[in-house]
Symmetry: C2
Subunit: 466 residues, 2 copies
């Protein structure tokens, strides 16, 4: 393929961008919240919509059932043999929108608006995670198809509907249909840039163990005037246990938690120090100033290479307006651990459960619910398509693309390796201030536009690198 | 008045009991939840209904505005001078009904049903607290009026609508209208019996300091994959602080908390030991077996004469179905302290706030909301009307009426003393298993029936004791 051909594709992306935006908006208007069964129909609608759209690009497309929300699978093979074959992965499901009162606009009515610092942004639930991101790839394919009538590599697209709830049904679906997902490597578009001007490829991901804990005491809610002092209070038990998960220095106190965790190699640590991730640059935009993790670690280690523990939710007793002197019958919390290479999710899960169970007093019962259980991932920094993608990203953004570690978990990367034997290249255009999983989620208009252009270049680079 | 006259009144109560029950049901159907502004109209409706009903007994009745929900005031003076004048107090407001899913029936559709052990019970929000209790007095007056055309003593009835939210507006109303509430002493019907067969008069009450705490960290909800480990988590901060409120032995760790708390006099302690309040009798009915208070105290001390701390509610982050990897911007809890004589509510409030504030890390802000702030009460065991009431109760129930301490707080008792100079006699027919402030609140049918008969006797005894 010629440089002229690529330039025509990039020009087409620019001239068609208003339509690309409108197509993203159509997808964003679908309330595909996977966590809430009330939105199952919307999840199906999102799958149907994407299948129909991708079919127009020449893909042979199906909406495939799973034991949960369906997956969209599209296949496009070129006429010539021996072309690279990539498996592109995204997810159409989104996080719940609560607390709804903190959104400035309805979460499923996307708009382009101005960020406080002047950036143009797309605001909606899923604007970034992952509808905006997956549409950068779809729109790049559309531009190639429109200009050249074909695509530069063979592509299988798979878009799942349960990423936000742990892909419990998607992984068995992959396992049962391995033959449909043969490829040379996988592309995952669910990660971020280093900053608004610096592209990045993510080469390590933290794992995730997510547990829900419920403490039960009396057989019913009690009046604290009658029983206070004599009856066990499950909120007291829960706060006592959870309040002890970190010590004064921010270390996690669960026995064995740090087993297998290695320090960064000195050269990587030196490189990361040079990135100069400061509280001023990283925490100030979210109203904070003090790194809250292990006191003996750099901030960039705290958020990238060190394991963590967060309480993501807690509830018990009376939480409405005013006061109520109740001792509730139960209280519960959701706790997640970000894991790093060397940590075994099954062992962490069990160590946490043992930690809690051993601290539950005689009169209380404890119940656990599993949500996620995924190990950390360290990718091969020297794999071939990674170099090609890095060069293409550098050309599009005019700045060297960085290889970075992500604090987040994308369990599908391990599943692709274990189930299909595929390595993944993780490229995305999200930013730290995108408010994913939060009210007022956004995606920079520039991320969307240059993200599409980036994929157009990357597909060309893959074709040439073969 | 003659014994025959009293017997006629008691007979009338028995023969009219079905109607007494229907009148209680009418009141129970009104959703007078004072904590939730959405039910302000229902509170007004309850006041109007009671005023209209009490007026039919010959009381000069008004619905009087306060800065919050209105109060009902009814006055009945006899034609003869020098009769005792009692001020009867009750409240028509009720607690919120959540968690609604734990109610076996709609909370505002009262029924008479069978308790598991065969007792007949009235089930509804407010069945005991305080609609059932206040109606025992109203129905006793109705029987006297119906049989004799008058009442044996002068009575002012006042029924407020904000007891469950701390009587913030009722006390200034009393203060501003002192002249309307002149009486010899007050009667408060908001307490319990010793057991289903043993009547009691409450002579001490714990105080109540109720605080709401909100911890705020980042300016918005965060994704734990991006910020986990680096950004402060307000649930972590809150659980750490609240989890430290009790030590291993169940003592409260706030500096100065026990200042001024006295041990029981040996004779009272000996008497209480004889009451034989065991985990088997007190905790087993609620599914528990281990006293959860200070390990070096008797269970009856833990729930009656010792100060306590309970977390009545906690909420933060994602609490819906499934999982969400959020670090919330804030978390909050409601905490209450039951106080005993010798403790100063203002000092406890401040000591708690200092305890929390000194433990909030640099990046977090803390906010407090006041709910209640009432001292403990110790009544005079030798006051004259108390002896008369005790004799009347003993006659009705055929068992010696006990003088007991209550773990609950009835702040109005201190307000009557401070504002109006009145001592209170606290008599009620509640039971520990009435589920007040909880789902499936109930009042024993026997409590209601013999409660009405008890008041009929007590009014006669007051008239004679003068």
């Amino acid at each position: 393929m010629s440089t002229t051909q690529l330039q025509s594709v990039l020009d087409r992306i620019d001239s068609d961008f208003d339509n690309s935006l409108e197509r993203l908006f159509t997808l964003l208007r679908i309330k595909s919240i996977s966590a809430d069964p009330a939105f199952a129909g919307d999840c199906k609608a999102a799958a149907d919509h994407l299948a129909k759209d991708i079919a127009t690009l020449g893909f042979k497309t199906e909406v495939r059932p799973t034991a949960g929300h369906p997956a969209v699978v599209g296949k496009l093979n070129g006429s010539t043999d021996g072309r690279p074959h990539v498996l592109f992965y995204g997810h159409y499901d989104v996080q719940p929108v609560d607390p709804l009162n903190l959104w400035h606009r309805p979460p499923f009515e996307p708009v382009v608006t101005d960020h406080a610092d002047g950036r143009k942004i797309i605001v909606a639930r899923g604007a970034e995670d992952d509808k905006g991101q997956l549409m950068t790839f779809v729109e790049a394919c559309r531009a190639w198809k429109s200009v050249t009538g074909s695509l530069p590599v063979d592509i299988t697209i798979v878009i799942e509907g349960e990423e936000e709830v742990g892909s419990k049904n998607f992984v068995p679906f992959l396992e049962a249909n391995k033959a449909d997902f043969k490829a040379d490597f996988a592309l995952v578009c669910d990660t971020g840039m280093w900053d608004p001007n610096t592209p990045a490829i993510t080469t390590s991901l933290r794992g995730l163990v997510y547990q829900e804990v419920k403490i039960k005491a009396a057989s019913r809610d009690l009046h604290s005037g009658v029983f206070g002092g004599g009856a066990q209070n499950p909120i007291r038990v829960l706060t006592r246990i959870l309040g002890g998960l970190h010590d004064e220095n921010g270390h996690i106190t669960i026995p064995g938690f740090y087993d297998g965790v290695k320090d960064l190699p000195p050269d990587i640590l030196a490189q990361w120090k040079n990135l100069n991730l400061t509280p001023e640059s990283f925490l100030k935009p979210i109203g904070l100033s003090l790194p809250a993790g292990e006191k003996d670690r750099l901030l960039i280690e705290q958020v990238s290479s060190r394991p963590t523990c967060d309480i993501n939710g807690i509830v018990g007793g009376y939480t409405g307006e005013g006061s109520k002197t109740v001792i509730p019958a139960e209280a519960s919390a959701k706790i997640s651990f970000r894991l790093v290479p060397g940590q075994d999710p099954d062992k962490i899960r069990q160590a946490f459960r043992d930690y809690v169970s051993s601290r539950v007093p005689g009169d209380c019962k404890v119940e656990f619910i599993d949500h996620s259980n995924a190990p950390a991932i360290a990718l091969d920094w020297n794999m071939k398509p990674l170099a090609a993608a890095r060069k293409a990203l550098t050309e599009e953004w005019g700045k060297e693309a960085l290889l970075i570690g992500s604090g987040a978990s994308i369990p599908i990367v391990a599943d692709f390796k274990n189930t299909l034997g595929l390595d993944s290249v993780l490229i995305g255009f999200g930013l730290d201030d995108d408010n994913i999983h939060s009210p007022n989620e956004k995606y920079d208009l520039k991320s969307y536009h240059k993200g599409i252009r980036s994929w157009a270049r990357i597909l060309a680079a893959f074709a040439e690198a073969k």
